[in-house]
Symmetry: C2
Subunit: 263 residues, 2 copies
């Protein structure tokens, strides 16, 4: 047997997703590959959203934007079809979640534009490779996420608080994590806050707004990164008539390699 090329892993994972064989979370799938948050909007709203991402690059780092009505994303993978290649979607009408289908062929429109936004899975891989333990991964939980009081820069109808993810780290690991994630601006980059959560409007670390709480030990410091859930918060607030996103944790797997994102 010959060794699989790196891209084969991504192609195979997407094939399983496309066929409906895999409809769950993508954490750990096609290891080493960039995964993306997905937002699909009608062109009329997409222009506002594109400006929103441009103005808020830390929570909304754009990996790709499609042409209107174009379901393929060749810059992320030769065979990617956004209508079938996400394990589970969320359909939002007027800002209300109405369905969670496993493909969106029957919802596709000629005016839809797809946004793919970088995800912390990429920098978490770099942290783990550097020997920095991540408690939520060790405990097989989702990362803890909070609505902070850090305002995003509004654009058109899109506005709202920055959602942040928190990872508790020892001080030396926190310093190293800042160095490492600074090299990954396309997947949220350096942290936006360290230390006292109250300074960014988080009253209780044990009560995250999304994901699962993890303990912060006495010799650890909470480290906060801008989070790709931020656009979903802005979308909920903007109540667009039509919007499709990925379901949390069920991301688009691309052919890009995490290592290639490092600057």
């Amino acid at each position: 047997m010959s060794a699989a090329s790196p891209t084969d892993k991504a192609v195979k994972a997407r094939a399983a997703i496309r066929s409906g064989e895999w409809t769950g979370h993508t954490s750990g799938l096609a290891e080493g590959h960039v995964q993306g948050n997905v937002v699909i909007l009608p062109e009329l709203l997409a222009n506002d959203f594109l400006r929103y991402c441009q103005r808020n690059p830390k929570p909304c780092p754009l990996l790709a934007v499609s042409e209107p009505g174009e379901a393929l994303l060749p810059s992320l993978g030769a065979d990617i079809d956004i209508r079938t290649d996400v394990p589970r979607y969320r359909l939002w009408r007027d800002g209300v979640l109405t369905d969670q289908p496993t493909d969106i062929n029957n919802l596709w429109r000629s005016d839809l534009i797809t946004f793919v936004i970088g995800c912390s899975f990429s920098f978490e891989e770099a942290l783990l490779e550097s020997g920095i333990p991540l408690r939520h991964i060790a405990q097989n939980r989702n990362v803890a996420m909070y609505r902070s009081n850090i305002a995003t820069a509004p654009a058109g109808v899109f506005n709202g608080p920055m959602v942040v993810s928190m990872r508790p780290l020892k001080a030396t690991d926190a310093i190293r994590a800042i160095q490492i994630t600074s090299r990954f601006p396309n997947v949220h980059g350096a942290p936006v806050h360290i230390g006292n959560p109250e300074l960014i409007g988080i009253a209780d670390l044990a009560a995250p707004d999304y994901g699962d709480a993890v303990d912060v030990l006495p010799d650890e410091i909470p480290v906060f990164w801008a989070c790709g859930v931020t656009p979903q918060a802005a979308i909920t607030q903007a109540r667009p008539e039509f919007c499709i996103t990925h379901a949390p944790g069920a991301m688009l797997i691309t052919d890009l390699l995490n290592h290639h994102l490092a600057i």
Copy 2:
């Protein structure tokens, strides 16, 4: 009048020091130029000290090491003579401070080796240029320094605790300061600790072991860097029969530019 070349500033400052006209602190002199901590040891002890620096690059980043008996340091400046170009020296015999002369011509020996070690003045300039306020500079105080419980790696007779300098910063400035100082490994590099001082054996930030205390405000986090006073602590402990250092704050001014140290 023609503008002075960058090097002219360093040459002029050294001339004033060499003539005995300037015998004080060098902070703010020849702005933009690298200044160095100085340690001069007999060759017999210098080998141990060289290994000590090699094993502890964060507190003891070596900018230059002379040949035995050689008073010139051409890699740091064409006209530098280490016997005259430091504003004030400290003479140590058996680890005890015995004199603070302004030149060491009459103390020079053919077996002396000079070590020049990077100094935080270089990265402080980069922090200030990036708009990060430094309280000790704003308040015209010496930076606060503490003996931590972080052990250095011993070499021969040299051993001891890492001395750290502390600067209180807002979280976003602390993150930026980690990014900036990571680019300056030759002048202590990234911090060694952030947050709770007790975790590195510092009981009271208001009582520094060297320098002056500054307030840490409620929205600030203490950030700790390895400090060039560490070798002086190791020398005090090793009690070498003969040693010359610079007097604290009265550094060697070199022709090197701080900007050129950045990686």
